[in-house]
Amino acid sequence: MNDMQWTPIGSEPIPPPLPPACVDFSGNRSEFRKMVTKGAMLELVTFGFYRFWLVTDIRRHLWALTAIDGDAAEYTGRAKELLVGFLFALAILMPIYLAYFLIGIEFERWQGFASTPLFIGFYAFGQFAIFRARRYRLTRTVWRGVRFWMDGSGWAYSFRAMAWGLLVFLTLGLALPWREAALERYKMQHSHYGDLRGDFEGDGWTFFKRAWWLWLLSPIALFIFPLAPFFYAEFKARQWRWWLDGIRIGDVSLSSNLPHDAFYGLYWKVIGWWLLLSTAFGFYIGGATMLAVKLGGVPAEEMFTPGNTSKSIPILVMMVIGYFAVALAVNIIMRIYLQRDLWAKVLETVEVHNIGAAADVRGGGQIASALGEGFADGLDVAGF
């Protein structure tokens, strides 16, 4: 069927609307698990430096196994770019921290704790980083030999994010849907696939109507703790669906029928694993202490007195090893459930309409540097 459509060159009557194209994710779960397990271990022995390679491998895996209308995407970013971006970001952030420190002192001289608002500056920087990091990822995304790209200004985005953030703060979170819509519109309107321009048609009101009751109920979760994951999962599912429904690229549009309870299982599995690991860690520490008491011949109460430091060192070492093992396991679990499984779950609900509009797109756009990812890494902000 596709052959019929693509082979003729030159003018031809517009084909009748095709049924929506699917997005397939054909990733093998155990392959992904092996990849992140190996990656997490390498991350441990490299003191975290391997994260650039692991993140790149994960993206390459997810992108390459995601096929839109039968053609798989490709992630062309490389780990070295991320490393260089991180080092550049450090070089820029270092003097900024120093300046922050010095200005902070002047403010403090004037009034105690007057420098606290300066921290807002870092929030603005974080928003800038989020925009630029998305730009990096988008420009490394290739489908059918044409890349996505992005223009627009990170600082203009940051300014919008700050202004909307203030409004959300003043309205106790009620303005959040409109903030999301406005920021996504800015990002999508500056996104391109070749010569097709992106847009975002989701509006705040729709999002608000879908999620307002969660805002009302959220205080309950402060008292009945087990409800919180349900609320969060519910919110995230509604947010994803609203976001996907709003995406446009040229005349191509997306839609999703993601169920509102789609993420319950994912979040509870993560929590379950986390509880299991914490319990195991508790038993491990208890067992280690008992063993040390038996072998060392020092009663447990005296084990930690200053005189017995040499005896308590083995316990400390075992604690540190246990801590790293737990951190490693949590790392793997988060990546499997909250990256891979979430990705698969969301994509299987997505339909692409009028994909024919992207059949002959002229490539264009410049690739962006990984500086934004470096900032996001250095400032520890996550965004999408």
């Binding site: 022995v45 053609d71 001289r109 200053p306 059949a359 490539g363 520890d380």
Partner: protein, 370 residues
């Protein structure tokens, strides 16, 4: 046009697709193996890719996706037929040359470990050395500015106005001056005061500021107790501990953040390792300040023991677990008491304050409650 495909049914069921890297047009092509790979689309000139330039690109299983280093960077050839893919793979010898190999991973690990070791060495030896050397070189005005900022903060927490009762103030100044002369601190800008708060503590700020909180004054039973604590704080001033701490803390948190990839240092690992490293550094500084206090008290012919007794009355026995010992910023009070007790000597000098002066010092914040 279509009869070509009729002759090669294998190609029409599993088509070979070419993207030329300038457009997203899906071009169905046939391949020919000459001295280079010839990619031919019906009705267009064939594209030639030299075998040595062809590289593998990421693809889902069942598809061989190729790129070419001399073609436009996004040009892709997708071969879905397994036999054809095997043919092409056999001809392209440098297909996987750009991939991260086992050796590449080993290289990453090696360099990371080297970087980590060098950062750890700098944190352990370089930063303390830099802090010790740099702290005395910080210009006085800069130090004073930092001190001013800290002072404003402290006063915001502990009460805006210091205690100003004239008789008490005179006694306090006398005590501080005697200690200062004994300490050999010739900083004429040194200021000392009492802040009206029930917290029992005392601290030194950069730029020669020493503050005693009223809670400590209330718990003190003799001038010697207070004098020992004050001379400990003077020891911090004498050793530039504030500036050293500032340089040291800034340096270590930056470097440890660099190691774990988070400059602000907010994650748990960073927090944990930072507290360990910094606490040990600050314990050293505290021990040195104690040594200094002992020296001064001896010089004045008084015993350092009462000060430790005052500390012990405030904190009680502290040692309990290894964790608190390792994370504590000060040496344990019982250890300090033991040390000062060893240094206990009968008084050989005159009392630092007369009874009357001591009484008025106790009332420096007024007789009422805070």
């Amino acid at each position: 046009m279509s009869d070509i495909f009729a002759e090669a049914p294998a190609q029409s069921t599993k088509p070979t697709i070419f993207y030329d890297g300038t457009s997203s047009r899906r071009r169905q092509v046939t391949l020919a193996f000459g001295d280079a790979l010839e990619i031919a689309e019906e009705g267009a000139a064939p594209v030639r890719w030299a075998y040595a330039d062809i590289r593998r690109a990421d693809s889902p299983p069942g598809i061989l996706r190729l790129a070419c280093t001399t073609a436009p960077p996004l040009a892709r050839l997708e071969i879905r037929d397994a036999a054809l893919a095997a043919d092409v793979t056999a001809r392209c010898l440098r297909l996987d040359e750009h991939r991260t190999s086992r050796r590449g991973v080993a290289k990453i690990v090696g360099w990371s470990v080297a970087a980590a070791v060098s950062i750890v060495c700098v944190v352990m030896f370089g930063v303390p050395l830099a802090a010790d050397r740099l702290a005395p070189l910080v210009p006085k005005p800069v130090e004073r500015r930092i001190g001013d900022a800290a002072e404003v903060q402290m006063k915001t927490i502990f009460g805006r106005n210091g205690c100003e009762d004239p008789a008490g103030k005179a006694a306090f100044t006398k005590l501080v001056n005697r200690l200062r002369d004994a300490a050999g601190l010739d900083d004429d800008s040194m200021t000392a005061g009492v802040l009206p708060t029930p917290v029992p503590n005392a601290f030194a700020l950069p730029g020669g500021k020493v503050y005693v909180l009223k809670g400590l004054l209330d718990k003190a039973d003799s001038p010697d107790e207070l004098a020992g604590i004050l001379s400990h704080e003077l020891g911090h001033l004498k050793h530039y501990d504030n500036m050293r701490g500032l340089i040291y803390n800034g340096g270590t948190s930056f470097l440890i953040g660099l190691l774990f990839g988070d400059v602000t240092g907010s994650s748990a690992v960073i927090f944990a390792s930072r507290s360990l490293v910094e606490a040990s550094y600050s314990r050293e500084a505290e021990t040195a300040a104690d040594t200094f206090a002992i020296e001064i008290m001896h010089k004045l012919g008084r015993s350092p023991k009462p000060a430790a007794e005052l500390m012990f009355r405030i904190t009680g026995k502290e040692g309990g677990s290894t964790l608190t010992t390792i994370l504590a910023s000060h040496p344990l009070t019982e250890d300090r008491l033991a040390r000062m007790t060893r240094e206990d000597r009968p008084a050989s000098g005159p009392p630092l304050l007369t009874d009357k002066e001591w009484q008025s010092l106790k009332l420096i914040c007024g007789s009422g409650k805070v």
